[in-house]
Symmetry: C2
Subunit: 175 residues, 2 copies
């Protein structure tokens, strides 16, 4: 069975969307999508609020109730029937996220088990046949076939095959 490595934030969960919702409620300021390009979505928030965004990422609760990406549940359920699926999240930077990410998966993807979850700091030691991730830093060391999952911060990346949605993933992996 071929192995697919799937990222969580910005791929399964709408982490940026969860932060924007909270931020605009608190501050009403618009975020700047251009500032994200080539770095990460955190940089889209105003410079003087970077520390506050970071603190929110570190605080208990943030990762527990994030919205699920459209079609992710249906497509990953079917992938799980046909492939060896592992969910690999660079999460050890955020100690409070660890248990919350497991609980979030259990709530939204109950067909996945704890055996399929990897919470790490660096994905270089993860091997598989396919990787779906929004970050070049994770895809660039991968020995299998990498796919970049589209999100505002990676719109200028051209060197990877792109999945614009989970519907796109279904067209490639579930034909």
């Amino acid at each position: 069975m071929e192995r697919i490595i799937i990222d969580m934030d910005e791929v399964m969960s709408d982490t940026m969307g969860g932060m924007i919702e909270w931020y605009e409620k608190e501050h009403g300021l618009p975020i700047d999508y251009n500032r994200m390009l080539g770095t990460g979505w955190v940089k889209g928030f105003p410079e003087h609020h970077q520390e506050m965004i970071w603190n929110r990422l570190l605080a208990p609760g943030f990762f527990r109730d994030l919205p699920v990406m459209k079609d992710a549940v249906d497509v990953i359920r079917e992938l799980n029937n046909r492939y060896e699926v592992f969910i690999v999240s660079a999460a050890t930077e955020f100690p409070n996220s660890l248990k919350e990410k497991l609980e979030w998966l259990q709530d939204n993807f109950p067909f996945l088990t704890w055996k399929q979850v990897v919470l790490c700091g660096d994905k270089r030691l993860i091997h598989g046949d396919y990787m779906i991730d929004d970050h070049v830093k994770n895809l660039m060391h991968f020995k299998g076939k990498p796919y970049i999952f589209t999100t505002p911060h990676n719109l200028n990346v051209t060197e990877y095959e792109r999945l614009n949605s989970w519907e796109d993933a279904a067209k490639i992996f579930l034909v």
Copy 2:
């Protein structure tokens, strides 16, 4: 730089020792080392207390203050200077252990960073040059050179090169 994958429970931390200390204080019953052989240390506790031991593993707090294995700090500090060290623990079965394991590492091995930690359910997707682990189930799929770290439950294993202590590890990796 060569990569060493190091397990936590029964290798860096004296997890069984921590449980025995708690158990004998609570129940005063002796544990049976023979029953562990070929399975795992949990089986050394009486059959009618298996569920209680399991609940203790799942409860908050258990993993936070475990004793550190003799010489582990000094040897791993030096390994960390000469190798790419990753700490890989099969921990997602115990959601309350995740943050505690990070904190325990920070307290006892402050020279390691969150980037070097992997908390997972299955080590088959982890690649490296060397693996130090107490479980055959983790070593058997490893593509690099495996070493079994001696602990009562694996005394009957003969198919792997054995490290009886961190001093043994120093003799192999730090010559």
